[in-house]
């Protein structure tokens, strides 16, 4: 009994400690975002909060608004293209017994093994040749290449978990393969697809390396924009934190959405 108690408290203590380690920098960032420059380096929690940092980052010369827009467009378009394509691909990988299927799937996954740094230069040269440097299109293309294999793999997991009985029943009831996907598979896989979409959005939203190399002025995204707060005058921590909050908040909201949908199973009741 006593031993059990000790374990219980020990477990809680470790959890709290780890949470603190993880959450402290984030908390600090949020606090700094509301501090005046003179307070930025002080460890005191006694400061008068201000919104002026947010006003500053959204105005010249920082123009964070443009970066928010770039990030939002790049991430949204990437999701809108990647998820439908990946869903169909995932369905095929899950259901069709095609020769070479396993090898093909391995090939798709293998794209994830390549370190981004290795291919960033070829991408740079390619987009320079195409005249697409510093455009959102270039970022969308690159992000699609990075994200789609991952999303295929994720969605396949969800589709694998759907029993084929319902699909076969629908085919016998008179549905074509595409109709089956639309009427049966998509509604049943919806929570999984939604989760994958949000993951896809987060990956793209936070993507740094390619955006850094492929953009200069017009298509700069938020993570790259953060770097611009390191100036000759030193690091502008309060501004960087304000921008950091702008990056983090949408992802927080999405993470909450994921949690809600992640746990909800849609396949209940299909079979015995």
């Amino acid at each position: 009994m006593n031993r059990k108690r000790i374990y219980w408290w020990g477990e809680r203590a470790v959890l709290v400690l780890v949470s603190c380690i993880v959450l402290f920098p984030i908390l600090w960032m949020f606090l700094t975002a509301f501090k005046r420059p003179k307070d930025a380096y002080s460890l005191s929690l006694d400061f008068s909060p201000t919104l002026s940092n947010f006003v500053t980052v959204f105005s010249d010369p920082w123009n964070l608004g443009d970066m928010v827009l770039n990030s939002a467009i790049v991430a949204s378009v990437t999701v809108l293209i990647a998820v439908p394509c990946a869903s169909l691909a995932a369905y095929s990988f899950s259901r069709f017994r095609v020769r070479g299927r396993k090898f093909l799937f391995f090939l798709i996954l293998s794209t994830q093994f390549i370190p981004a740094v290795v291919i960033v230069l070829p991408f740079f040269l390619m987009f320079r040749t195409l005249g697409l440097l510093d455009t959102r299109i270039a970022l969308i293309v690159v992000n699609l290449a990075i994200v789609t294999p991952f999303v295929i793999w994720m969605i396949k997991g969800f589709i694998d978990a759907i029993p084929t009985d319902s699909e076969e029943a629908a085919m016998i009831d008179g549905a074509s393969r595409l109709r089956v996907i639309k009427d049966i598979v998509l509604p049943m896989a919806a929570p999984g697809i939604l989760t994958s979409s949000i993951f896809c959005f987060i990956l793209t939203w936070n993507e740094f390396l390619f955006a850094l190399i492929l953009t200069r002025r017009d298509a700069v995204t938020l993570p790259v924009g953060l770097v611009s707060f390191r100036t000759e005058r030193g690091d502008l921590w309060e501004l960087m934190s304000a921008a950091g909050v702008m990056i983090t908040v949408p992802i927080f909201i999405m993470a909450l959405l994921i949690q809600k949908h992640f746990t909800r199973g849609m396949t209940a009741g299909a079979v015995k």
Binding site: P163, D165, E168, A169, M171, I172, D173, D183, G269, K272
Partner: protein, 351 residues
């Protein structure tokens, strides 16, 4: 309604032969049961008829027309799956109405037909529910209603009752039988339960290792099993199978000596059903042994005797009582059938 013909139909998975050159004609309006242990190819055969499994070789004909290459949706069939295969995100009404929706039936007609069909399987009050809110039996009814909401050419049923509890299974069995009588649609029914096969079928095809070993009426399959496999598979409790030999017009085995009409030979298996045996005085009985177990089933008592490691079961009167290990005798009832099989080939030996 249509006649279904399988001509030399074969199914291979790589090197594995799942169904071997199947030839089978299912008559128009017939209730045919494919019966066999798991892995015998019965479900594969049905799935080929449904179009869910490609046919490796041979022809499948519906009313004389070759349908090998037709998609399931174009075959005009309905199927009830073992695990029901319901659409969990749709209500019961939408589940039942889905085949009609796919055929472009307008909403009003659809609602009426769904209501009518639901009444037939006693689901009328549950139309707004989702499958997850139903019991197993109710889910099975939804699957059934979805199959009968339109009149297909052929019904396919893949172990539809195997997930139900014993009591419900009996009720649903009767309902299925009545339904078939009412609709008269050609039906193929897959099961491993010999009781279902016997009660439902016009004809039973007993399958083993990808082949049909016997195709006949339930009555004939019961009274004249073609080989040892069928003999042991049909009947509950199963037929007694006794290893022995025939000499001098008698079947001889440890504790058994019975006159038979067959020429002398070794390696013979005699089959006799428990219900064809009666208890007699041990002194003069053709079959004798010691009582091993008594099982009261309600209307009768199953008496198991053991003699030198082999056991024989007989169905005796409900009030029969004997102590374990006492001697006991059995004799075939007057007019009872005994069956003789060749031990090596398993084939029936006809007198």
């Amino acid at each position: 309604m249509a006649e279904v013909q399988l001509v030399d139909v074969e199914k291979r998975y790589g090197d594995f032969l799942a169904v071997t050159r199947q030839n089978l004609t299912i008559k128009d309006g017939e209730f045919l049961v494919l019966l066999g242990p798991s892995g015998c190819g019965k479900t594969t055969t049905m799935r080929m008829i449904a179009g869910l499994e490609e046919i490796t070789a041979g022809n499948l004909l519906f009313a004389g027309e070759r349908v090998n290459d037709k998609a399931p949706k174009d075959r005009d069939i309905a199927m009830v799956f073992q695990n029901y295969g319901l659409y969990p995100h749709m209500t019961v009404a939408d589940n039942i109405g889905y085949p009609l929706k796919l055929r472009g039936v307008d909403r009003k007609t659809r609602t009426a037909r769904v209501q009518e069909t639901a009444e037939k399987v006693e689901l009328g009050a549950l139309l707004k529910r989702r499958p997850s809110e139903l019991s197993g039996g109710q889910r099975q009814r939804v699957a059934l209603a979805r199959a009968i909401v339109r009149t297909p050419k052929i019904f396919l049923m893949d172990e539809p009752l195997s997930n139900l509890d014993a009591k419900l299974r009996v009720t649903m069995r009767a309902e299925l039988k009545h339904l078939h009588h009412e609709l008269g649609v050609t039906t193929v029914y897959v099961t491993h339960d010999q009781m279902e096969a016997m009660t439902l079928a016009h004809r039973v095809a007993v399958m083993r290792e990808g082949r049909i070993v016997q195709l006949d009426t339930p009555k004939n399959i019961y009274s004249e099993p073609a080989d040892l496999f069928v003999a042991s598979f049909i009947g509950s409790p199963p037929m007694n199978l006794i290893d022995g030999r025939i000499s001098g017009g008698r079947f001889e085995a440890p504790g058994v000596s019975l006159p038979v009409e067959a020429t002398d030979r070794d390696k013979v298996v005699m089959g006799i059903r428990p219900e064809d045996l009666e208890l007699t005085d041990p002194a003069s009985a053709p079959i004798s042994g010691r009582v091993y177990a008594l099982e009261l089933t309600g209307d009768s008592t199953l008496v198991t005797l053991r003699e030198q490691g082999s056991s024989i079961c007989a169905r005796g009167p409900a009030d029969f009582e004997a102590a374990i290990n006492t001697s006991c005798g059995l004799a075939p009832k007057p007019g009872a059938r005994t069956h003789l099989f060749d031990k090596d080939s398993g084939q029936r030996i006809d007198a």
